[in-house]
């Protein structure tokens, strides 16, 4: 009869085509509107920050994979995860970042963020945020020197959150929030405001990418919605109590890294809880810490710290939340 040799293994014999690679590339594509907007605002400076950070991150990814002796080295190196980390890190840097800052960021992200724990899937903290916070603490001046986009000169300018933090609610009460949402600079008393990390300027661009990821079912809406809603409600309560001291909740929604964090970093698979209940707790915690830091903290912005703190709580959240069984 036949000469066929049959393989015996367990079912199922069909698998989805979705892979780490296809997921990572979808995230990269979803970040394109944000990246393109940063290039529109900051021109060549944004191009160089983005490219340098991605290239350095990818180089360190390959080096550390090699050191760890990973099999399928090249497949793993180009599964897109290092590109996502590099791109996210770049979008969290100021436009004036020098090349060595990009390199240092890529190094830290891959070493302390990812490979010391055993690579993708085993890292407790979001690698891009580990690198960003490392850079912020090590090079505070460079990391908080902001410029306004769409300007030929490098003009230093406060971020809206920075202005609120140093000058109070009154200083930011007349800002055009729609312009901030779209990602255009605003002026306050004739001075340009609206700087920030190159990828946090346009909430609109981030939202477009976030919706794309939801439509592709790569992220669930649970985390972004609860995160942003918590910040809105918490800052809203304080605004209602004392509008002269605390800026409007709408102001807090369209400024800083809230959208970038909520859609692209608090949704990182590896470092966030598995269960839906867990995701809700995680997102609520992120929102609460972000709002607390913004209203009462020493730093004007708290998204990075909030997500990292909740990353640390993720194993505990996973332990104490479970799925709801059908019929149980």
């Amino acid at each position: 009869m036949t000469e066929n040799k049959f393989i015996v293994r367990a079912a199922p014999f069909l698998r989805t085509k979705e892979s780490t690679k296809s997921i990572m590339w979808a995230v990269i594509i979803a970040l394109l509107p944000t990246a393109l907007w940063s290039i529109y605002l900051y021109k060549f400076r944004a191009v160089s920050v983005i490219l340098l950070t991605i290239i350095f991150t990818e180089i360190f990814e390959i080096i550390f994979l090699k050191i760890r002796g990973k099999k399928n080295l090249w497949d793993t190196a180009f599964d897109g995860s290092a590109i996502v980390t590099g791109l996210l890190l770049a979008l969290n840097l100021p436009s004036t970042s020098p090349w060595w800052l990009c390199a240092a960021g890529g190094f830290i992200a891959m070493l302390l963020g990812k490979h010391v724990y055993g690579g993708l899937g085993n890292n407790p903290f979001n690698p891009a945020l580990v690198a960003r916070v490392f850079l912020l603490l090590s090079f505070p001046t460079i990391m908080t020197t902001w410029t306004v986009g769409l300007s030929a000169d490098v003009v230093s300018a406060a971020t809206p959150l920075g202005m609120f933090s140093t000058e109070g609610a009154a200083a930011v009460s007349n800002m055009n929030l729609w312009r901030l949402f779209i990602g255009l600079p605003v002026t306050v008393n004739g001075l340009p405001v609206g700087g920030g990390s190159i990828g946090e300027i346009s909430e609109l661009a981030i939202l477009a990418g976030g919706l794309l990821l939801m439509a592709r079912k790569i992220i669930s809406p649970v985390i972004p919605i609860i995160y942003i809603a918590t910040v809105f409600i918490f800052t809203g309560i304080f605004h209602l109590i004392n509008p002269e001291m605390y800026a409007s909740p709408f102001f807090f929604m369209v400024t800083g890294g809230l959208f970038l964090g909520a859609f692209f970093m608090a949704t990182d698979y590896v470092t966030t809880p598995l269960t839906v209940t867990g995701k809700m707790i995680f997102a609520g915690g992120c929102g609460l810490i972000t709002a607390l830091i913004r209203l009462f903290g020493a730093y004007p912005e708290g998204v990075s710290f909030a997500i990292l703190i909740m990353n640390a709580l993720t194993p505990t959240i996973d332990k104490y939340t479970n799925t709801r069984k059908f019929g149980g």
């Binding site: 049959f6 015996v8 698979y269 590896v270 966030t272 598995l274 069984k325 059908f326 149980g328």
Partner: protein, 442 residues
């Protein structure tokens, strides 16, 4: 298809791959020269052969039976001589006896079998006929049908569900029965409702088979019977999931459907019940979808139980060179095997021969915690966690493995190709043994 009823949690949309045999009418495969009849094809107390080598048997004669309340007899589909009784390994590494009968081509029937008869309509007589006809759940589980139809007295059932979901890709056996023998299926449901005294019958069919839904609706004259289209979503044909979709009743965890007043039988099982009560015909044949890129001519076949896979392959004009998987059942829950001399059993809904191209193998990688397996699990479990604790044999954390329905949705969806379902199913076995051990020690 908005507004269709579906199940509550999870589910996936694998490619349905039904086109290869969707339009192929059921073809009767001639009785083979020898049949290899497995002694145990059901869930429950094991059977023993009641014939010996060199015995002569008649068609429809009982060749194996068991003792106890939950068992099922086995009949010979041919007349002829028993030439051997030996032990073989079935898919899933289960060992079992097989009675080999050489077909004398005489078709000598057991006295009184395959003759139309009048019935008294007595419920106990009805159950006895089904028991003696060796009918078991033909959807895959193999639970003795007479037990399923006889729920405990304190749990009366009002609803009979015919499972025509056929949610496994490739398979069309139930679909072809529903299209080709619609009248007989409707008659069988009416009969079962009468005999078991149930108020309503629902035939649940996935919406990718609307022609079957329409045809059954147009022919149905029994006002107690509803033909319902349900969402095309895997595993719609899983018992608890189908019950929820059709009745919005939730079977409590680790309980049987009668807890919510429902009895479910597969399309093929209903047909077998009808043949048994009306024509005194035991279960000795079934419809099998033979499909996949690895078989030269895919078909829907009416095959005698005990026909070897190699005979089926020959009848379908052989295998292609690149066939690398032989699967008993569907591609989601079926079992791979490599011994083509194994027979078709009462629960063989499909025989698939798949090529490397159809089954793309990729290396397993570390979990990236995407939580997709939690999202798709129709039982609302945490598959990645259960895989980890199963592998580590952390028995104190493993209890949920018992609720796994083994549908394979988690493995299907995993982007890093982890063998979630297989590990959990293994864990289930280990955990069950552990529970037995600790009970003994108590």
């Amino acid at each position: 298809m908005a507004g269709l009823k579906g199940f509550k949690k999870g589910g996936i949309h694998p490619p349905d791959k039904k086109d290869m045999t969707k339009d192929k009418a059921i073809e009767r495969m001639p009785l083979p020269d020898t049949v290899r009849i497995p002694v145990n094809q059901h869930i429950g107390a094991p059977c023993k052969p009641v014939v010996e080598t060199e015995d002569t048997v008649l068609r429809n004669q009982v060749v194996a039976k068991g003792e106890g309340g939950l068992t099922s007899v086995v009949h010979s589909p041919v007349s002829g001589e028993v030439i051997s009784i030996d032990t073989v390994t079935f898919p899933g590494k289960v060992k079992g006896s097989v009675i080999t009968v050489k077909n004398d081509k005489q078709m000598n029937l057991l006295e009184g079998s395959e003759k139309e008869r009048e019935l008294t309509g007595d419920f106990n007589e009805f159950l006895k006929i089904i028991e003696e006809a060796g009918i078991i759940g033909m959807g895959g589980a193999g639970f003795p049908a007479y037990c399923k139809l006889n729920p405990p007295e304190e749990k009366p059932c009002d609803t009979f569900i015919v499972n025509g979901a056929e949610c496994e890709p490739y398979l069309n056996a139930d679909y072809r029965i529903m299209i080709e023998q619609s009248d007989k299926l409707l008659a069988s449901v009416s009969y079962i409702l009468d005999a078991a005294g149930m108020k309503r019958g629902i035939i649940g069919i996935e919406a990718n088979k609307m022609d079957a839904v329409e045809k059954l609706r147009s022919l149905n004259t029994d006002s107690r019977i509803e033909i319902a289209a349900v969402k095309t979503k895997y595993p719609q044909g899983a018992e608890k999931q189908l019950i929820y979709a059709l009745t919005r009743r939730t079977v409590p965890i680790r309980k049987l459907p009668f807890e919510v007043g429902v009895i479910v039988h597969n399309v093929g099982t209903c047909m077998a019940i009808y043949d048994a009560v009306k024509f005194n015909k035991p279960l000795t044949e079934r419809v099998v979808t033979v499909s996949g890129m690895g078989i030269v001519e895919p078909k829907n076949l009416l095959v005698s139980i005990g026909t070897t896979v190699s005979d089926v392959i020959d009848f379908c004009r052989g295998l292609t060179e690149d066939a690398v998987y032989a699967i008993n059942g569907g591609p989601m829950m079926g079992k791979a095997f490599d011994n083509l001399e194994l027979p078709v059993t009462k629960t063989t809904s499909g025989l698939l021969f798949l090529t490397e191209m159809e089954v793309q193998e990729e290396d397993e990688d570390d979990c990236i915690r995407c939580s997709k397996c939690l999202d798709v699990c129709p039982m609302g479990l945490n598959p990645t966690y259960l895989m980890d604790v199963s592998k580590k044999r952390r028995y104190e954390d493993m209890d949920d493995v018992l609720d796994c329905i083994e549908c394979g949705s988690c493995t299907y969806i995993c982007p890093v190709n982890r063998d979630l379902a297989a590990s959990i199913i293994k864990g289930k076995g280990k955990y069950t043994k552990y529970l037995k051990r600790s009970k003994k020690n108590d």
